[in-house]
Amino acid sequence: MRERRVVVTGLGLLTPLGTGLGATRLALAEGRCAIAPATLFDASPFASPLAGEVRGLDPRAYFRVPKALKLCDRRTRFAVCAAAMALEDAGFPAGPCDGLGVSIGTSGSDLGAEELSAALARSEDPALSARDTDAFGEAALAGLNPLWLLVHLPNMTSAHVAIQREARGPNTTVMTGWAAGLSAIVEGAAWIAEGRADAVLAGGADSAVHPFAFAALEQKGLLSGPSPLVPAEGAAVVLFEEREAALARGARLLGEVGAHALSAGTRLAALAADATPAPSRQLERLAGNLLAAHAPAALVLSLAEGLAGPVAAVAMGPAGEASALLVLPPDEAARSAA
């Protein structure tokens, strides 16, 4: 059974370097560094307070139904915005689409610290709730915003992208740690190859700039030492389309999906060896580590440059999770022959 060919037709990117692909590329070209002590929360108690934060984003501009914003945490907002950017970049037709899927990778959640605290502040005995999870549950029952769970359920990231775009294709939120975004991209492309979707918004969206992420990273020793990891945030989304349909609608092709790996091992090593690496390190030096969105962001940057040859995006995480994707230059010959 021959599988269908998958091409990239649109890119969306949000990083600490800029709220958009153009802004990020410019900052990279100028060597501007966006790393600074965190402002989203007071990170001074941690071994390293440095972070890469997305600034100046106006999400309303990217939300078809802005009412949903109250239900979207940071990484979900980033995902929706980056997806909207990718669709616009691709010139993808608007309107409900049964064949448009969404596959986004993310890690962790900030669990809404402020809302939890507010719920406790309203309760009769906040100190008791600190020691006793039973009491905490009751305080939550009495004073927590009922929408809390919906804001923090990780699958909402992909759900909101779909709702804003009325996309009814397959839909998943991948959570394989730091490899999540790239794994989501691999799977999203696979859906098209298999004929389960005709187009997919695939990528990573993450925000590690919150106490829970910092604490967990610090516990692993990653915030200490001469070059600590810099937790960052952002989103990178590509629009994949089935190749013939993309050509038929006159889409501009940025690349074609090649081989992939969804785990560490020889296959991943082979993919990485034979291709130009996506600029993961450069991005990390200037923007910090975007975790699940990092490898997707590096991939988007490569695609934006224009591919002279195959490019490999590789993601690896501290628990051993890994994925890799090879992207080939688009085959222009077929288009000019058509």
């Binding site: 719920a119 600190a130 905490f136 549950g137 009922p146 759900a159 998943t172 730091w178 785990s263």
Partner: protein, 427 residues
């Protein structure tokens, strides 16, 4: 013409309310035994919902087959290690055997993976002076952080841990599509084998929301039944007196295998996975699409993927949560897909007896569906007492039934609108 690879289920393991392993659960379901009762794990007396289906703690040390350290990271990890161990044993696959290096692992888990305990102390510190004191929150969190925080936050870490313990070196994916997650994890495993990414995939899901914060957050959404005085009658999918779902917890794992590979090693086969479909309502955040658009799409896609028509299907293991709106919408979607054929389809909801296992539901229910096909029997839906004119389907109210089961569907739908459906056929 290259023949399509076929995928079979060669092993299953689970931790579920009231049951020790797949055989135990299956026996309970056929006997119509409910595992729903008052919550015992913590004092829920001040909650509007005080009932749940709590799972038996795994007997002895978990993961005896896998042998790797899984403890100290909460119930979700314990359940997963136990269920995965059982599945591998049932399939006759020893950890780190020759099958493993190229095998895959496809996992879905829930929010409970995030160790909440230390967040609460921190939240109290953050609230101490009125207004939110972010620095106090961060300081308290750092000091109070329990071990393995990164692992507890990451479904990917659990997946990697399981893979390492089993010697699995092939494709690895951890996903989280809430209540559709379990079905999706099995569906992804099926896709990989069919495409040739792997010959064997360990697929499953694990979840537990039965702890104070979990219960509180579902209570706040008004999603749970309040029939506290009669717990075994609270979960009544499709029944006219239903008032919400009941939380369950647990884990289910299946070994999916390429059919010739399974034959070559003489493995037992429960059933064949023939197709998978998934979609998204893209309507609203919690209200399902009134016509069940996403649900119907998922079912149609699964049928198409399996090369089946609605006439071939004899049983649907429904999502059937027992919510007033959700059940009604699922019936509408089934009517749209099956038309008049629906009269001849048995539909039962496992949730009527073990509650809603949230992310793990789809995986445990996939096992139940496979067992139904193996045995040619379907379990009843409990508590069918009051007719709902909008849910006039055959919910197998009378008790377990023998059915000449050729093919069956298993549905799972999530908050957010994600929908997933697996199509199974008799092996």
């Amino acid at each position: 013409m290259r023949t399509r690879r076929r995928v079979v289920v060669t092993g299953a393991g689970l931790v579920a309310p009231g049951a020790d392993g797949a055989a135990g659960l299956w026996e309970n379901l056929l006997a119509g035994r409910s595992a729903i009762g008052p919550i015992r794990r913590f004092d829920a007396s001040s909650y509007p919902t005080r009932i749940a289906a709590e799972a038996l703690a795994p007997a002895g040390a978990p993961a005896s087959v896998l042998g790797e350290e899984f403890g100290g990271r909460g119930r979700i990890w314990d359940f997963a290690a136990e269920a995965a161990s059982q599945a591998l044993s049932a399939a006759g696959l020893a950890p780190r055997g020759p099958w493993a290096a190229s095998a895959g692992l496809s996992l879905a888990t829930g929010m409970g993976t995030y160790g909440h305990a230390e967040v609460f102390g921190a939240a109290a510190a953050g609230a101490a002076r009125g207004g939110f004191d972010g620095k106090a929150f961060a300081e308290e969190l750092r000091l109070g952080l329990l071990p393995h925080a990164a692992d507890r936050q990451s479904p990917g870490a659990l997946a990697a841990h399981l893979a390492r313990a089993a010697g699995i070196g092939g494709p690895l994916l951890a996903s989280m599509t809430a209540c559709a997650g379990g079905t999706q994890a099995v569906g992804d495993a099926f896709r990989w084998i069919r495409r040739g990414e792997a010959d064997v995939v360990l697929a499953g899901a694990s979840d537990s929301e039965i702890y104070p914060m979990g219960l509180a957050s579902f209570c706040l959404l008004g999603a749970l039944s309040r029939r506290n005085d009669a717990p075994e009658r609270a979960s009544r999918p499709f029944d006219g007196a239903r008032d919400g779902f009941v939380l369950g917890e647990g884990a289910g794992f299946l070994v999916l295998e390429e059919r010739e590979h399974a034959r070559a090693r003489g493995a037992d086969v429960l059933a064949e996975v023939a197709g998978f479909g998934s979609a998204c309502d893209s309507y609203r955040v919690t209200d399902p699409h009134p016509e069940g658009l996403g649900a119907a799409l998922a079912m149609r896609r699964a049928l198409d993927d399996a090369g089946l028509s609605p006439d071939d299907v004899d049983y649907v293991n429904a999502h059937g949560t027992s919510t007033p709106g959700g059940d009604r919408v699922e019936v509408r979607a089934m009517k749209a897909v099956f038309g008049s054929r629906l009269d001849g389809v048995a539909v039962s909801s496992t949730k009527s007896m073990i509650g809603h296992l949230t992310v793990a539901a789809g995986a445990v229910e996939a096992i139940v569906t496979a067992l139904s096909l193996r045995d040619g029997r379907v379990h009843p839906t409990l508590n069918q007492e009051l007719r709902d004119p909008e849910c006039e389907i055959d919910t197998v109210p009378e008790g377990a039934r023998r059915v000449d089961l050729r093919a069956a569907l298993s549905n799972s739908f999530a908050f957010g609108g994600q929908t997933a459906c697996l199509a199974f056929v008799r092996a």
